[in-house]
Amino acid sequence: MLGPWLLKAPERMERFTTVSGVPVERLYTPADLTDFDYARDLGDPGEFPFTRGIHRTMYRGKLWTMRQFSGFGSPEDTNRRLHFLLAQGQTGLSIAFDLPTLMGYDSDHPLAEGEVGKCGVAVSSLEDMETLLAGVPLERVTTSMTINSPAAMIWAMYLVAAEKSGADWKKISGTLQNDILKEYIAQKEYIFPPQPSLRLVVDSIVFSAREVPRWNPISISGYHIREAGSTAAQELAFTLGDGIEYVEAVRAAGLAVDEFAPRLSFFFNAHNDLFEEVAKYRAARKVWARVMRERFQAANPLSWRCRFHAQTAGCSLTAQQPVNNVARTAIQALAAVLGGTQSLHTNSLDEAWALPTERAARLALRTQQVIAHESGVTEFADPLGGSYFVERLTLEMERACWSYFEKIDALGGMVAAIEQGYPQREIHEAAYAYQKAVERKEKIIVGVNEFVSSEAHPIEILTIDEAVARRQREKLAEMKKKRDSAQVERTLEALSSAAATDQNLMPFLIECVRAYATLGEMCDVLRRVFGTYQEPAFR
């Protein structure tokens, strides 16, 4: 029927695919949704399986939290940026740490050379944490911290700083990323081997459930998996697969699923392919609800909800014609909102080059504010629900996810799969296939492989002075002179002994922090007890 038409007006390509390479048909109709059941597959917003959103009123009740990730230079520098963002109407904080901190090294460690304050803020001790948070009302502002291998140590610093500022642990709230499994899979910021790392995660989840009940002790993250080059379905499946592993580990430590599951949170990427992303978020909620209710027999409806943060895709930003990134970020942010995110970070236009300048960071926040207050997409829940295409894509995403779960279970669970290099290989294959598609121009990137322009597009770039490193080293030396070194040794010794048993390490870390033991000192103790991890060679 279409034959003569196609002869007259041929289509642009033989084969159309999503950004993840999934084939897309010309048209979707009721025939694509034959075995579709509203109550089973969707349900109303706020109802199992939450495909249409976790709240009944969605953004009519409360907009998402606009949470711009920020951190650079010294704790003083970042403290000023945090106050700036709050003054611009940002509704939650999100802190980025520098690489030495992420890897558990103090600013004065030889491996920290050249890296202090570059990719985030340098925090080596309680003193730095107190400077970082100075003047921030911790009982009112929620703080998210992107930290993984040393998450327990950094959280201990935050808790002691909060306590010293007079904030009550029962009232403060925020999120630790604390997702070590995706580090082995994608971002590779690991220190210890998987099992002791998992134990630190479990200790912080258990401690949180008992002592800091409003805290989200983990943000199970697909963001980095996607940035490493995965497809949308891989991002979904490996993230929820990690979630399953954490739930099993915390249950094995003695907590009932409903005691901690309501505080589990997730973090997804918001990439370019708008409908594929919306399908991914909808499938995430649906699959997680089933996993929690059926696999883990969670009885509390709060345990079934997949609450998530989203961040626009850093890997989609181009260094060429950087102003174009504003358009990309707006589309990606819209996808996250149409997909029902609980909080959102929008990247800045200059981030293919460096950390954002203040101006660029404000424009990124304004992009969210325009979507929230001008576009009208917030006035009703799940606007794309019922679209033949989006519903079909959501079903396919869900199927792909269950099928990955079967493979992961067959390999012996996520830790075993990681040790066998399975998710790493899948992601690398996808990344390589995408690169090839770009080089063959099957996928167009505006300003990179098409619409290239030779004119320069100068933008202002934030540079971090090496003086930051020098000042951090000096401050650290001063602090070490002032503290009670016998107390530091006692608390580190106690940490070392406890690490060799199966006691919860959080109280021991908190004592170390109170004595002003540094991040590097605490991590060194655990490096000696746990050993360090090297990834298997890349063939």
Binding site: L99, G229, A319, Q320, H428, Y432, Q435, A537, F538
Partner: protein
């Protein structure tokens, strides 16, 4: 007659673990017929230079995204020269601002591949440069 295969060390110095670029380039060079040795993550300049010597490579490709390139890259070049490998082609890939490129080239870097570079450009550059050198 067998043509000698180009040997390339792909190195990932610094604390950063984002290895998507390094691995994609390593794979592309391999697919283009080169012998590729990938160092793995978090190698010091000393470890990278030692590997370059031990593997007797024609080129070293350094992947760095963290902003630490001005500290790390010149040191690798210096170590290569000190061990008699001044003729090894050093290329850098990653987030390198335009204004840092002249100093890196002065330090001994043959070419810098910024974000958006294709693997084909990298392959062609290595082939051209190593062949001229031989």
């Amino acid at each position: 007659m067998t043509e000698k295969r180009i040997r390339v060390l792909v190195a990932k110095p610094g604390l950063d673990g984002h290895d998507r670029g390094a691995k994609v380039v390593a794979r592309a060079l391999r697919d283009a017929g080169m012998e590729v040795i990938y160092t793995g993550l978090r190698q010091t300049p000393e470890q990278i230079a030692a590997a370059a010597l031990q593997e007797d490579v024609d080129a070293v490709g350094i992947s760095i995204l963290s902003g630490a390139h001005n500290t790390i890259v010149p040191r690798i070049c210096e170590l290569l020269r000190a061990q008699g490998q001044a003729d090894v082609t050093v290329i850098v890939g990653g987030i390198i601002p335009d204004e840092d490129i002249p100093a890196l080239k002065k330090a001994g870097v043959a070419e810098v591949f910024q974000p958006g570079s294709s693997t084909e450009q990298i392959i062609n550059f290595i082939r051209g440069h190593v062949a001229r050198r031989a």
